[in-house]
């Protein structure tokens, strides 16, 4: 009891210190919403797994999981239980501590992303005024976990997968950030809440090229097909998590879907107008839009073959990067011309620019060089 008293007293004494320092209630608020957020993310992930498996099943003229619970809704739960009961196997040659730590490091940042995503006006854990920078910074930390996993497994497939992941993330971070900068220019703020408030015209229309670049780069970052080279099951078995089993594998599995949900949420927030929409309550709009974006990811995964590693790199550097730069330049000019808010004219101009640019780049740039002479 004495310890608790001490803690509370310390908090109280702290609260007295700076004027803008969070007050006494702040910590409980913080803790409560963090737990709510984690629960929310886990539920969203379950929904995502269910949607992915069912939709993919139907697209492949199968049924997908339909045995556990009504319509197979409990399948993610069954999966989770199964995976937790599995034996935890650590390879002999593995670097034990790193091997153990990797899933944790990969998992934590994904949850942290959700801290700045607004579910409705003002309903976000931390309204950081540098929200987007925070997302960009945090989201690439997962890569460290993935690389640790690949390195510590002592497996060549894992190492290859991890190397591919690092290469992809390092390359795709640039077009990703550049396409966000366009949005930031238009919105005039880095806070996600403000960005949503500014979207009287959804930014997908104002920044169509930016959206495409961001979508492609996001797919590559969170290794969704067609850029799922890090765990290319037909080539390197399962990439970085080849040697993982049991709960640790479950963590990676969770990371994969949580990242996909996080990226969908970010795309929803900065391109699709976040919680805004008629009739339905804002948080529902947000969830619906997130799942729509996620469904598009599932859809592309179902249809498309995987690209090769050199093509992946080339796509980032020769295709997305220059286009993102041009997009940024065009946006900057438009913001100069219309300082208050971009009008509908800008939508038409931007779509026209997008079509022209994609046409030109498709014509003139060959991606990938193919064979290496030995």
């Amino acid at each position: 009891m004495a310890i608790i008293d001490l803690v509370i007293n310390r908090r109280l004494s702290l609260a007295a210190l700076p004027p803008d320092w969070p007050g006494n209630n702040y910590w409980w608020h913080w803790l409560f919403f963090t737990i709510v957020l984690i629960a929310f993310v886990l539920v969203m992930v379950m929904g995502a797994i269910y949607i992915e498996r069912r939709a993919m099943g139907r697209m492949q003229s199968r049924l997908g999981p339909n045995r556990t619970g009504p319509f197979g809704l409990l399948q993610p739960v069954a999966d989770a239980v199964k995976v937790m009961l599995k034996e935890n196997i650590v390879p002999d040659n593995a670097d034990k501590i790193v091997h153990w730590l990797a899933p944790v490091i990969a998992f934590a940042p994904v949850l942290m992303i959700f801290a700045v995503v607004p579910f409705q006006n003002g309903a976000l854990l931390a309204d950081l005024n540098i929200g987007i920078l925070y997302i960009v910074a945090i989201s690439s930390i997962s890569t460290v976990g993935v690389f640790m996993a690949g390195w510590s497994s002592g497996n060549k497939y894992s190492l290859l997968g991890a190397m591919r992941n690092v290469a992809a993330v390092v390359s795709y971070e640039i077009p990703l950030v550049l396409s966000i900068v366009g949005v930031v220019l238009v919105a005039g703020s880095m806070s996600l809440n403000t960005i949503v408030l500014k979207q009287d015209i959804p930014f997908i229309l104002l920044q169509p090229l930016g959206f495409l670049i961001f979508f492609a780069a996001a797919c590559a970052e969170i290794n969704r097909s067609p850029f799922d080279l890090m765990e290319a099951d037909s080539e390197i078995v399962a990439g970085f998590h080849t040697e993982y089993s049991g709960m640790k594998f479950a963590m990676f599995y969770l990371v994969e879907y949580a990242e996909a949900i996080a990226m969908s949420a970010i795309i929803t927030t900065i391109f699709l107008g976040g919680w805004r929409g008629p009739l339905l309550p804002p948080w529902l709009w947000f969830i619906v839009k997130t799942f729509i974006v996620f469904f598009v990811m599932v859809w592309t995964r179902t249809t498309l073959p995987r690209v090769r590693i050199d093509q992946l790199m080339a796509l980032a550097w020769k295709f997305l990067f220059p286009l993102a730069l041009i997009n940024l330049f065009v946006t900057a000019v438009q913001v100069l011309v219309w300082p208050d808010a971009l009008p509908w004219t800008a939508v038409y101009i931007n779509i026209a620019i997008m079509i022209i640019l994609i046409f030109l780049w498709s014509r003139f740039f060959k991606l990938g060089w193919g064979r290496v002479e030995i």
Binding site: M56, M59, Q60, S61, R62, K156, Y157, L160, M163, R164, S225, P226, D228, L229, A232, D233, S234, E235, I236, V237, R301, T302, T303, L304, P305, R306, V307, R308, I309, D310, Q311, L367, G368, G370, R371, V372, E373, I374
Partner: protein
């Protein structure tokens, strides 16, 4: 002064075993790959994980008794294996096959080609990374073909349908109407499948110009079937050395130009169309009559040797049989299409990435049952 040798980072190639247990080695194939990062420097195929000694087993079985074992050679296309073996024994013993049986055999062999190419194309695209969708679609269509095989011979994988001098049983009355439906359905399906992936940019980027097998190398390695035809060799045993009654049907031999993975994929799809053409013609012309030559169950072919080959879905499948006028073959050698088609794999993959290695390997379309025997 530092030399460039010291300046550059010293790297050394590392060896990765792909297989025998790997999602896309089509069974238990193993490649010992030497990699420089992602680039394949050298590979060495290792076989023998599925070696069952079928050639030795043939020497201990009657001529008819070996037919069920031929199913297990190339288990994706057992009908073709049956046909090849039966043709060899018939050639050896000089047996005349009744007309109706010949037509049934042709229909079965062509259906088998369709089924095999369904598997080949589907799993190749799966190797390319299309997450099971093309695979599922083709397997769905293969299922319809297997239904027909099931109807005539009662099994779905090891058909054991052909017999020396004919086929084991007559086709049931509901077979031909069902065949017509399947042909119609497959024609429709092929159109849809073309839409799915023919012009897909990613597939083009992955498969076009990748794993080029030159015409000269293909001939030198003895490569046959769709792989050879994709390299521009217009060589199809159904035209070049018409066995059974293939000289009565009209069909084309599709060939590729570059001999890359994409051409191999295209050639297979085109061949499926041609097979449908043959089936349509055969099902119209099929006469009545007996389905099996009048033969005892155990035959004693005259002493001698024979080589009969057919255009199996994967290439030239041949049986070299030496007889000593006893109930069992003295020696029965199978010309293993898949094994010989792998001969050029090393040259084809050198310098490509691992992803390409898997795709090139998938585009050759082998079955381990036939490689190891």
């Amino acid at each position: 002064m530092t030399t460039t040798q010291e300046m550059t980072l010293n790297t050394e190639p590392f060896v990765v075993n792909i297989g025998p247990v790997h999602p896309s080695t089509h069974g238990v194939f193993r490649m010992r790959c030497k990699l420089d990062g992602e680039v394949v420097i050298d590979i060495e195929p290792v076989f023998g994980y599925l070696h069952r000694g079928i050639e030795k087993l043939a020497e201990e079985r009657t001529y008819t008794g070996f037919i069920p074992l031929t199913d297990r050679l190339d288990y994706i296309s057992p009908m073709s294996n049956n046909l090849g073996y039966c043709l060899a024994v018939e050639k050896l013993a000089g047996i005349k096959v009744p007309e109706r049986a010949e037509y049934i055999r042709v229909i079965m062999a062509e259906l088998q080609r369709l089924a095999n190419h369904c598997v080949a194309v589907g799993s190749m695209l799966n190797d390319a990374g299309a997450y099971f969708t093309p695979f599922m679609y083709t397997f769905r269509e293969r299922e319809r073909i297997i239904d027909l095989f099931d109807m005539v011979c009662g099994q779905r994988l090891t058909y054991n349908y052909m017999r020396i001098g004919g086929v084991s049983q007559d086709i049931p009355a509901e077979f031909l109407p069902a065949l017509e439906k399947v042909v119609k359905r497959l024609t429709k399906f092929l159109k849809e499948y073309e839409r799915l992936l023919k012009q897909n940019e990613i597939l083009l980027a992955r498969a076009k110009g990748v794993g080029i097998l030159s015409k000269e190398l293909a001939i030198n390695c003895g490569i046959s079937g769709p792989v050879a035809r994709a390299s521009g060799i217009k060589w199809d045993l159904r035209k070049a050395d018409p066995y059974s009654i293939y000289d009565r049907f009209e069909f084309d031999i599709p060939t590729g130009e570059n001999g890359d993975c994409y051409d191999r994929y295209r050639v297979r799809i085109e061949e499926m169309t041609q097979s449908l053409r043959i089936i349509e013609q055969a099902s119209k012309q099929i006469p009545g009559g007996p389905i099996k030559a009048d033969l005892p169950h155990i035959i004693y072919p005259p002493a001698g040797e024979v080589y009969a080959h057919i255009e199996a879905p994967k290439g030239e499948l041949g049986f070299y049989i030496v007889s000593d006028n006893s109930i069992a073959p003295y020696r029965c050698h199978v010309r293993p299409t898949s094994l010989i088609n792998l001969a050029a794999l090393r040259q084809m993959v050198k310098g490509w990435k691992i992803a390409d290695l898997i795709l090139i390997f998938g585009s050759i379309d082998i079955t381990m049952g036939e490689v190891d025997r």
